[in-house]
Symmetry: C3
């Protein structure tokens, strides 16, 4: 039996459009039967937080402050032309108008298609986040070396 | 016969310096006989638009507005220290002064060396763009899964 | 004897958090015995400058001006929520408070673990930098095609 194709993504960005890229690639690859692994680190962790919006989570004043400012899956900024959060809303409207999957739908599709989510141990530690701050679908908390070894033999992208 | 080395690039950024990176890598690899495939998506699509500068293309008011703001190959901003568009001009001047290929030249070299250009179906749909909005050298309009499969067995970069 | 795993990184960004990512991946992979190669280009070159802070190095007025603005390893900005340089300082404080390696420590670890540093010939030329502007650990000055060939058979990331 041939081995499965594999796609691994290191998701570090907290930008709306980069998150769209992560989950489009993940769900697209999973749909054609790839093994897909995503390693969320730093701003990327916002995508897998339990709370969709802004919130003061984390341990320590600074960590809570950073986490609040960074927001969650529901209020990621666009990497360009953000206009104070207006553009992601307009863009979501354009995607709906065109019957293209929105970020929420791409995220749901990735979960449904069995994409593996991993959270970065070090970044969680720095931001004062624990396993409980993330959605239950997060498979494991890993170090970067473990993730690199897991992604051997496939394509690996840093987004 | 040995298989050709392969480099695949997912080009999502609309920044001047990132575009320099895409076409330097593409033309550099093609020059040493790699098969090179570039998948242009979202802001990356600006690099392969027919019109070099800003223009109101696309279907729908929002799409036309976004496309105008994003501009084209001739007015990409620098990802840092842009100074309202002054820096890319200064940088192009520095590149010319040093006899280093400019973005236009790197782009022309990539075309001449047979780099394969692909446009992302979904992003075109969201931005209301059609095949006719792009340069004739664009080989095909693809989904992300098809591009991933095409890039199997080589190096794949997300820029 | 099995071949060594290999990780290659093209480091183009001058952001503090991206530099953290580069040196975390590099030192993490080197610690589990990977061959690690980093190709520093454009803003990424700041990480391997001799001088840690801002300085007017380079040949030509424009080059000196750019190099001053870009700064060095000691004053890289955060890609988001930079607050005029305050955030990288706070983040370094958080990392220290949590006993997580700081950028300086990750950089030192990468050097100690034998990570190979390469500088991009073209970017050095554009920015008017010479071999003497960089730390002695820089192994060689290369073109992009040479680096791609060196990274064949491993994982390659663009950061």
């Amino acid at each position: 039996m041939a081995e499965k194709n594999k796609l691994s993504i290191i998701s570090m960005s907290g930008d709306f459009d980069k998150a769209i890229a992560v989950f489009t690639l993940a769900s697209g690859a999973a749909a054609v039967n790839y093994e897909v692994n995503i390693f969320f680190t730093f701003w990327g962790l916002n995508s897998i937080k339990n709370v969709g919006g802004r919130s003061f989570i984390g341990k320590g004043v600074l960590a809570r402050f950073f986490n609040f400012l960074l927001g969650g899956r529901k209020n990621l900024p666009l990497s360009r032309l953000n206009f104070g959060g207006l553009s992601p809303i307009l863009m979501t409207g354009m995607m709906k108008g065109k019957n293209v999957a929105t970020l929420d739908e791409l995220f749901a599709a990735s979960k449904a298609l069995g994409v593996n989510f991993y959270a970065c141990e070090m970044a969680m530690h720095v931001l004062g986040l624990t396993r409980e701050d993330f959605i239950p679908e997060v498979k494991d908390v890993l170090g970067v070396a473990s993730f690199l070894e897991m992604s051997q033999g496939g394509q690996t992208l840093f987004i």
